[in-house]
C-alpha cells in the first residue's frame, strides 16, 4: 500500500491534535474533541468547501497517484464513461456568452433545435440503440471476466501469514538468495516478478544491486514497502502486459508457473520474451518436483497448483525465444536435512548398488536440493 502523506500540522500549540490512545473508546468525547479542534481552527484552508463543479473545472491539483492501475480498473473507468455518454440526446443546455444579443442567439438556437428535433431524433434513436447494445455486450463481457477472476482467486489464504510461518523452510532466506542475486551484478533495472516478502530484494540490496519488485498481494507488498524495499503493487502479468517492448534489462522470479492457471506460465514466458531487452538476463528459482524436500514444501503451500520440471521450464523458455537456458540444483531451506540424508545413506547405497544398479542415482535425485535455478538469456 502506498505511504500515507503526513497530515499537515497547522495552528501551533492551541490546536488540539486528536490522538486516541489505548483508553476505552468514547465517541461522544472524540466528537467533542473534534468540535473543539474545528472551533479553534475556524477558517483553516481545509475547512473551505468548494462546489463540485468548481473542483471538476479546476481538475485535481494534487499529484496523481503513481500507483499501478490494472486493466480491470481501466475497464471500470471506461465503462463509467460509456454509461455516461451512451444516452445521446438533443436536450443539452442552450445558452450564449454574448451579453446583449445572447438571449436572441439562445432563442434562435432553441427554435432551430425544435425544428430539427424530429430529424435528429431519428438518428439519435438508432445511435442510442447501438450504444445500448454495445454497452450491454461490454457489461456482459466484464461480468464474465469478473466471475473468472473471482473464481481463480486463491480464496482466503493470507499469504503473508503463511509465509511468515513456513517461508524460511522452503521459500529461501535472504542469505540463500544471495547467490542468485549476485548473478545480476552489472545489470541495472532488475525486476522481480512476485516479490513475496521481499527476501530476494533484500538479498539484491545487500549485494548492491538495485531491484524493483512486483507483487499482487497488497499485504505482501505493504510488508515489503514497510521495510523500505521498492515494490509496486500489481499483478505481475498485468505489469508485463503494460511494460513497453524490450524495456526490462533483467528479471527474476521464484516459483514461476506454480500458481494460477496452467496457461499463465506459457503466457508469462511469451510476454517476458517480448518485454526483455536483447541480452537481458532471466533467472528463475523453482521447487524441484523430483526432490522429496521440494515436493514436501510444495504440498505444504495451499496456493501451489503444480510443480514445473526443470527440463520442462528450460524447454518452454527456449520455445519462447530465450537462449542458453540451463538449470542447476539450488539449495532450499531444508538443505541441511537433504545433505544429511545423502551422506547418511551413501555407504549403504554403495553396497546396494552392486545388486540394484541405479539405486544410488535415484536416491540422489530423491534427496536432491529442494530448488533448482534456471538461468537464461534473451
Amino acid at each position: 500500500m502506498p505511504d500515507m502523506p503526513d497530515m499537515p500540522e497547522e495552528g501551533g500549540d492551541a490546536v488540539e491534535d486528536i490522538r486516541i490512545g489505548d483508553e476505552e473508546i468514547d465517541v461522544k468525547e472524540i466528537m467533542s474533541r473534534i468540535d473543539r479542534r474545528i472551533s479553534s481552527r475556524a477558517g483553516a484552508p481545509e475547512y473551505v468547501e468548494e462546489p463540485l463543479e468548481e473542483l471538476d473545472r479546476k481538475g485535481r491539483r494534487v499529484e496523481k497517484s503513481e500507483m499501478f492501475r490494472g486493466p480491470m480498473q481501466e475497464l471500470a473507468l471506461s465503462l463509467q464513461f460509456a454509461r455516461t455518454y451512451a444516452e445521446v440526446t438533443a436536450d443539452y443546455a442552450i445558452g450564449s456568452r454574448r451579453k446583449v444579443v445572447g438571449p436572441l442567439i439562445a432563442l434562435v438556437k432553441r427554435v432551430m433545435r425544435k425544428l430539427m428535433r424530429p430529424y435528429m431524433e431519428a438518428v439519435f434513436q438508432q445511435q442510442r440503440e447501438f450504444n445500448r447494445q454495445l454497452l450491454q455486450i461490454v457489461e456482459q463481457l466484464n461480468q464474465l471476466i469478473l466471475r473468472d477472476r473471482a473464481r481463480s482467486h486463491p480464496g482466503q489464504v493470507n499469504r503473508l501469514e503463511f509465509l511468515e510461518r513456513w517461508g524460511p523452510d522452503f521459500d529461501g532466506s535472504v542469505e540463500m538468495l544471495g547467490e542468485a542475486a549476485s548473478l545480476f551484478r552489472g545489470f541495472s533495472g532488475l525486476v522481480e516478478l512476485g516479490a513475496g516478502r521481499g527476501e530476494f530484494l533484500e538479498a539484491a540490496r545487500r549485494a548492491g544491486i538495485e531491484a524493483t519488485g512486483i507483487e499482487g498481494d497488497p499485504d505482501l507488498a505493504a510488508a515489503c514497502q514497510e521495510r523500505g524495499l521498492s515494490v509496486i503493487l500489481a499483478d505481475p502479468l498485468d505489469y508485463l502486459e503494460q511494460a513497453p517492448p524490450k524495456s526490462i534489462p533483467a528479471v527474476f522470479a521464484r516459483e514461476l508457473g506454480e500458481r494460477g492457471a496452467a496457461q499463465d506460465l506459457h503466457y508469462a514466458l511469451t510476454l517476458m520474451a517480448g518485454r526483455l531487452e536483447k541480452g537481458a538476463l532471466a533467472v528463475f528459482i523453482n521447487r524441484r518436483p523430483t526432490s522429496f524436500f521440494g515436493a514436501e514444501a510444495a504440498f505444504r503451500d495451499p496456493t501451489v497448483m503444480r510443480l514445473i520440471h526443470p527440463e520442462t521450464l528450460v524447454f518452454l523458455l527456449k520455445q519462447a525465444g530465450f537462449a542458453g537456458a540451463d538449470f542447476r540444483p539450488y539449495p532450499g531451506g531444508e538443505e541441511g536435512k537433504a545433505q544429511q540424508a545423502r551422506e547418511a545413506a551413501a555407504k549403504a547405497l554403495a553396497e546396494l548398488e552392486k545388486d540394484a544398479p541405479g539405486i544410488g542415482a535415484a536416491w540422489e535425485e530423491f534427496t536432491a536440493p529442494a530448488l533448482y535455478l534456471v538461468e537464461a538469456r534473451r
Binding site: 473508546i25 474545528i38 480498473q73 463509467q80
Partner: protein
C-alpha cells in the same frame, strides 16, 4: 389455493424475491426466512413488481416457493406519477403544504394498487394469524391494513419526511393492531408524530455472522490502496451527491490517495477530474458486498432518512468502522451505542472524522470491533425472534 396452516403469519411486502434490493424488502425477507427456519408457518403475499421506479409487473402472478416459503403474487398497478394531478399532489406533499384528506386518499390509491391482492386479503383475512405489511408508504400497505383490520401489523420503516406527517398514515398507525419498529429512534419518531399511545415494539432484524474476503474483492475488481465504501441506492434522498462533493473536497484538501467505491442501483454522476478515484461497481452480488465491507477502510453512510441501516450493521459485522450523517437519528443512535464510528453534519466534521479514521488505523480497527460486538449482542436472530414473539403476545395475536 390449499388450506392455510393454523397460525400462519403472512408478510405483505410490496416486492419479494432474491433480485429485490431495498431495506424494507430485505428486512421482511430475512425475518420471514428466519421464522420459517425455526418452524413457524409463514407465507408471503406480494405483487409482481421488481423495479421500484416503474413498478411494472416483472414476476409472473401466482404461487411459487422460495427457500421453502410459499409466495403468492398479484399484478400491480404502478405509481401513476405521469398523471398530472398525482404529480402535483406529490409535489405539494413533499413541499409540506396542506393537502386535504380526500386528496391524500386519491394520492395513495395511485401509489401502487393491486386489486388481486386486496381481494385475496378480503377473502382470506380469517385464515391467517397476522398480516405484516411493509413499508408504510405504499397503497398496498395502506389499503391492506384497512382490509386486514385487527390482524394487521406494520413494519413501517419510518423516516422523518413529509409523507410521514399525512393524516392517512397517522390514522393507519393509530389503528394498527401493532407496529414493529426497527430501532428505538424510529419508535420515538412515530410517537412524536402519531401519539405516545400507539401500540409499538422494537423488533429489528437479525444478522448472521460472516467472514468477508477483502483480498478476493480487491483481486476481482482490481482495487488497490485505501478505499472508503458506500453501499445502497444512489439518489438525492440518500445524500449520495453530498458524499461525492465531500469526497472530492477531501481528496483536494488532504492530498491522500483514496478511492470511493460505490455499489448499488442508480446513476452516479462522477466528476471528470475524479474518475480515477470514484469507482462505481453498480449492482454487485451479496458475496461481493460482504467482501467489500472487509476491504473498506471506512463505510460512509450519508443518508439522513433511515429506519434501521442494514448496511451500517453489516459493515460492523465485517469489523469496518462507519462514518454516518449526524442528522440521521437511527445511525447516530447506533454509533453512540456501539462506539463503532463517528458522525458528521457539515464539511469540516466530515473532513476531520474521515481523516482521523484513516490516520489512526488502530482506532479505526477498535471502532470496527466495537461495532461488531454491538451487532452480535443486539441483533442476533435469537434476540430478534424473542422480540418478535413478545410483540405478538403484547398485541394479543
Amino acid at each position: 389455493m390449499g388450506g392455510v396452516p393454523h397460525g400462519t403469519i403472512a408478510f405483505v411486502p410490496l416486492r419479494y424475491g432474491d433480485e429485490v434490493v431495498g431495506g424494507a424488502e430485505t428486512l421482511a425477507r430475512n425475518l420471514a426466512e428466519e421464522l420459517h427456519r425455526r418452524g413457524w408457518p409463514v407465507e408471503i403475499i406480494t405483487t409482481c413488481a421488481l423495479d421500484p421506479y416503474t413498478w411494472e409487473d416483472h414476476f409472473p402472478p401466482g404461487e411459487e416457493y422460495i427457500r421453502g416459503i410459499k409466495v403468492t403474487r398479484f399484478p400491480v398497478r404502478g405509481r401513476v406519477r405521469t398523471k398530472r394531478r398525482v404529480f402535483l399532489l406529490e409535489r405539494s406533499i413533499n413541499e409540506g403544504r396542506r393537502v386535504s384528506r380526500r386528496k391524500q386518499e386519491y394520492w395513495i390509491s395511485n401509489v401502487t394498487f393491486s386489486e388481486g391482492l386486496y381481494r385475496f386479503l378480503e377473502e382470506h383475512r380469517e385464515d391467517y394469524r397476522a398480516f405484516i405489511f411493509t413499508p408504510y408508504l405504499f397503497g398496498t400497505t395502506y389499503t391492506g391494513m384497512r382490509i386486514a383490520r385487527e390482524r394487521g401489523l406494520v413494519i413501517p420503516c419510518l423516516h422523518d419526511e413529509p409523507y410521514a406527517r399525512l393524516e392517512i398514515f397517522r390514522e393507519m398507525m393509530r389503528r394498527a393492531r401493532g407496529i414493529l419498529f426497527n430501532s428505538e429512534p424510529e419508535m420515538e419518531l412515530a410517537r412524536r408524530l402519531y401519539g405516545e399511545d400507539i401500540r409499538g415494539m422494537v423488533v429489528g432484524m437479525g444478522f448472521d455472522d460472516f467472514s468477508g474476503d477483502a483480498e478476493r474483492f480487491r483481486a476481482k475488481f482490481d482495487l488497490q490502496g485505501d478505499m472508503i465504501l458506500y453501499c445502497g441506492r444512489r439518489e438525492r434522498a440518500k445524500n449520495t451527491p453530498l458524499l461525492l462533493r465531500y469526497f472530492c473536497n477531501y481528496l483536494e484538501r488532504s492530498g491522500r490517495d483514496l478511492k470511493l467505491v460505490l455499489t448499488g442501483a442508480g446513476e452516479v454522476s462522477t466528476p471528470y477530474a475524479y474518475q480515477e478515484h470514484i469507482v462505481d461497481l453498480g449492482y454487485v452480488s451479496e458475496r461481493d458486498k460482504l467482501d467489500a465491507y472487509s476491504a473498506a477502510s471506512v463505510l460512509v453512510h450519508p443518508s439522513v432518512n433511515e429506519s434501521f441501516s442494514i448496511i451500517v450493521l453489516e459493515a460492523w459485522l465485517a469489523g469496518t468502522p462507519c462514518l454516518v450523517h449526524g442528522r440521521c437519528a437511527v445511525n447516530r443512535h447506533h454509533v453512540e451505542r456501539s462506539q463503532g464510528g463517528l458522525w458528521f453534519e457539515d464539511w469540516p466534521h466530515f473532513y476531520e472524522c474521515l481523516d482521523l479514521l484513516l490516520r489512526d488505523r488502530a482506532l479505526a480497527r477498535r471502532m470496527g470491533e466495537e461495532g461488531r460486538s454491538y451487532v452480535l449482542e443486539n441483533y442476533s436472530w435469537d434476540r430478534v425472534i424473542e422480540n418478535f414473539e413478545r410483540a405478538l403476545d403484547e398485541f394479543g395475536l
